[in-house]
Symmetry: C2
Subunit: 201 residues, 2 copies
């Protein structure tokens, strides 16, 4: 069997590392599914699962979906565009993590409407992202986060997907919290009830 030159071998390892670390198609596979996941979990749910939180200054399901909506409106795709158009020259605008509170603290807000808004905005944004026809070399382009410094486009897109997952993780914890007492002695076996929230949501 012919051995590869060290240079060619290194290229293969690099490809494998990239494949392991990030793929646009795999990120899209998460991003496209999140609206349907939240819809299945929350549409038509009774108030206990939608309007209760984990205590003072914590989020309920309305806050979580509201926050995801704000991200679609102001954060993720605008940051992709800033990287593609301005690179590191123009730092991203800061992401207001509490922008949704004005809307979601309105007692009349309904989860079903928020779920519909989120699904529509996500579809619009992923359609726009696909229309940008990003090439592998684009994924290494750099931008500037106002607090974290230099980041790449692939890191931004990976974070968009993991941000969905962090809020599914939070949502399952917030819901489980409502039954913290109801499970009785089984509390010892339920990992989600040991999760302290990790500071970040």
């Amino acid at each position: 069997m012919r051995r590869l030159s060290p240079k060619r071998q290194a290229c293969i390892y690099l490809d494998m590392a990239n494949l392991t670390e990030f793929s646009l198609a795999e990120s899209m596979a998460v991003l496209t599914r999140t609206p349907a996941t939240l819809n299945a979990m929350l549409r038509g749910m009774p108030d206990i699962w939608v309007r209760r939180n984990e205590g003072k200054d914590t989020w309920n399901a309305l806050d979580i979906v509201g926050h995801l909506i704000v991200g679609e409106r102001t954060d993720w795709l605008p940051r992709v565009r800033i990287i593609m158009e301005n690179g590191e020259a123009r730092p991203f605008d800061a992401f207001d993590r509490f922008a949704q509170s004005k809307e979601t603290q309105d007692k009349s807000v309904e989860i079903d409407r928020l779920l519909g808004d989120f699904a529509r905005l996500r579809t619009e944004n992923l359609t726009a992202l696909q229309a940008m026809n990003l090439q592998p070399e684009d994924l290494a382009r750099r931008g500037r986060h106002p607090a974290l410094g230099v980041v790449t486009l692939s890191e931004l897109l990976a974070t968009w997907a993991v941000h969905d997952l962090t809020h599914l993780h939070q949502l399952s914890r917030v819901m489980a919290h409502q039954y913290r007492n109801a499970v009785g002695p089984w509390i010892a076996y339920l990992g989600v009830l040991q999760c302290a929230g990790h500071g970040a949501p």
Copy 2:
């Protein structure tokens, strides 16, 4: 305005406490939605999100759904029946948390088939549960867990629902773990990447 007698007042508080703690309808609202939630998250997903775990002796999505299937087959409804038929006299059978591994370690197992099996079994079990026509007084019936001791039917049913949530919490964490490096400096802001798994899944 007429004031209530202390006894009547106490009854109202007791009702409110019960309402807060457990409702069969609210538990059913979670239990009925979990198959569709997992379906939305996982059906047709590329291998990175389905076959990767968090390292040695940890679970991937196949293991998680496989474990939920075992619970439907051997654990939850059988325990409901033991409480209703035998009370504390007959302890529950122990739940084998690793019973799914023989099936899910088969490389040819497909997530789509597991999702279908889980949805079918869950529907059958909830149909059977509804046919039992449980009354409020049934929810206080007691059974005996082999390790935890005396538990009530309402605790069992609440745990069934929170067990779904603990595995959604785990699944979002396992998926996020695959992009631990890909998110670059954003790791600091993503709570799900700070979650150590809490011993229990």
